[in-house]
Symmetry: C2
Subunit: 144 residues, 2 copies
């Protein structure tokens, strides 16, 4: 294995990014990471640009972007075919979806606390939560 300075194996890439080795190979298979050059023994060898790209992907994931969205974004980047307004629109669209999810979860939490507050909290086999969930007439507790 001839190891040039600034090159590293998949293990090195994994360490530097905190991304699982299996995940890196998975990204390669799905095409979001490029096929890296190989050593004579078949080992993948990575450079700085791979590192940056993988970090980009991870950050997007942390921001909740789906892989397909990241694919699209990277496609634009690879082709240098994006504009700032495009990327901004995509980001804000995503933010709006996140906002919607927050709204839904807030309603959900309220409902949960609401039905829990009806409990006596006693150690008896009678519980308004179970009753509310089992009784087809008592729908009130679950209307958000």
């Amino acid at each position: 294995m001839v190891k040039t300075a600034g090159e590293f194996t998949i293990g090195g890439l994994s360490e530097r990014t905190g991304v699982n080795i299996e995940t890196i190979r998975y990204y390669e298979k799905t095409g979001v990471m490029p096929n890296p050059p190989r050593t004579s023994g078949g080992y993948r060898m990575y450079r700085k640009d791979h590192l940056n790209r993988l970090r980009f992907i991870r950050r997007c994931r942390q921001l909740g972007f789906a892989m397909a969205e990241i694919q699209a974004l990277l496609g634009l980047v690879d082709a240098s075919a994006y504009t700032c307004s495009e990327v901004q629109a995509l980001t804000l669209e995503h933010a709006t979806m996140v906002k919607q999810k927050i709204r839904d979860l807030k309603r959900l939490e309220k409902t949960l606390r609401g039905i829990a507050s009806q409990c006596t909290g006693e150690k008896v086999p009678e519980c308004p939560i179970i009753d509310a969930l089992l009784d087809p007439k008592d729908q009130l507790a679950l209307q958000a």
Copy 2:
């Protein structure tokens, strides 16, 4: 097919609950719904108690409970082995997890809007979002 009053096929159950036929069969396979009696031709026949149980499951799902949690809850119900305080605790624990998720998503939305606000919004191939995501030095934008 001998159809007693108050009995219905899987299609009827699907209609009454809004749950997909495939999903009902899936619930049966995983054990969260019981094996219903069959007609001579092999058709599943359901009654009111199946309906209630399926509605219970759906409501729990809408409340964000995982199938395993629902399994556990129904196990207690089936054995009449639950107490009100147990169920309350489970519900509140779940509510707390939902709250945590809301916190995470709020931070996420803030980050997204923050990086989007740096955009010029112009139709040029230069974008601070892409720059921030690609540049290994500029980590600031993503720290929540």
